[in-house]
Symmetry: C2
């Protein structure tokens, strides 16, 4: 059974190699997409080579919908994106993968049905396929080496779909004890070091002492210290003092 | 010769299959990256299987730098990103690919040297590798199917690097005659249709006429019409009038 979550259908137009269909299924499922549509696969359907490559995502192949024509495959959708490396003469909006999947997410959230079409290996899409699309998606590849394969193209669009629909913080702190230290804790850490280091004669010569104290305070305060870090830094200093006191 | 453009080194740690090294080279060059570093590839170096898979990006393999250890491979860098599907117990910033490559672009622009590390197939990175990194990059995959392969992971980071460093408009209009119509042209188009349709008795019955005129004006103005579109729409109407006048 497909997942419940509304999402775009990914439509492979006249794919040639079964292996590429299997790899495309894996790439879709990597990003939680499981609505595959196939238009006239060259080697018929089902295809054992596709199954062999899809390990872990074989369900997508079992549930893939088969169509004879591009028109039939997209007939129930309201907006269709055509991914192509070679934009044609046709006047049509050209979107980055990010803009396209962000647009798709907004449409799907409003209850629209959308599809993303991928042309056959090598040959690419025919002009009739492009003409049926609402917009073109163009991946910003190196113009000297624009050779993305089918599964890679599916991967990038799936990645952008997931980015557009998931709430992932761009940067977070991960680990066992990740609670950041409060400023008071950092200040006390600074006090601790300053006191002991003063006792230890660190701030010398006298006319440089103030600058040295300032630099040390600044060191602690600009570090993204966790509570665990602060405790460890206290522990280090205590140990050094103990070591010294032991003589 | 590598390209001049400053960029991150992509470091493959103890890669196993030559094919995957070749596919990674292709994925890098797809997005204009050509600084590959290899740490202790399992099957030695050079590797004919890598060359066979790298078609078009073989130069990256010829120029790849070989190291015995992770430490040696990153010794000349100031900031290192570790891509891993399994964040560990180590406290470390975890970034999305987008945030990481945006950060990398800012650092490279300031003259820093940065590296992105990729663990070996299956085994993944060792904790010692992660500990040597400045930050972790985690791709937001489907938790039920997080199995990205090496070249796919390289592809996504390369894609984000290119996004972070290129000025691609998210949506643009592509085609032969893409100049958008100015508002005056759209207004004249509306006039033309309104006049002819009024002559044709379109705005009927009388009490609905105003609403119908408004809807028609609105239709033209919310369409992203090019100058060519406007000319064509004028032409259509003129032709209908001519046809009518011919009787």
């Amino acid at each position: 059974m497909p997942t419940d979550r509304p999402q775009p259908a990914f439509v492979l137009l006249r794919p040639q190699m079964g292996e590429n269909i299997g790899a495309a299924a894996r790439a879709m499922w990597n990003f939680g997409l499981d609505r595959m549509r196939l238009v006239a696969p060259r080697d018929g359907w089902p295809n054992p080579s596709a199954v062999a490559l899809a390990s872990g995502a074989g369900r997508l192949l079992d549930e893939a919908q088969l169509f004879d024509t591009t028109e039939a495959a997209i007939s129930d959708t309201t907006f269709v994106y055509a991914t192509t490396a070679r934009p044609r003469e046709l006047t049509k909006p050209v979107m980055t993968p990010e803009a396209a999947m962000s647009d798709a997410a907004a449409r799907v959230a409003r209850g629209e049905k959308v599809a993303v079409m991928f042309g056959p290996e090598r040959a690419g899409m025919e002009n009739a396929d492009i003409a049926a699309a609402s917009a073109i998606v163009s991946v910003p590849v190196n113009p000297d080496f624009p050779s993305l394969n089918l599964a890679q193209c599916v991967l990038l669009l799936g990645y952008e779909w997931r980015r557009a629909t998931s709430q992932t913080a761009p940067v977070r702190l991960k680990g066992q004890r990740t609670e950041l230290a409060e400023r008071l804790e950092v200040e006390r850490l600074g006090d601790h070091y300053e006191e002991r280091l003063a006792e230890a004669g660190f701030f010398f010569p006298e006319h440089k002492a103030e600058g040295m104290r300032l630099n040390l305070r600044n060191l602690w305060s600009r570090m993204p210290l966790t509570r665990a870090d602060v405790q460890m830094l206290h522990g280090i200093l205590r140990q050094m003092v103990r070591w010294k006191e032991r003589g």
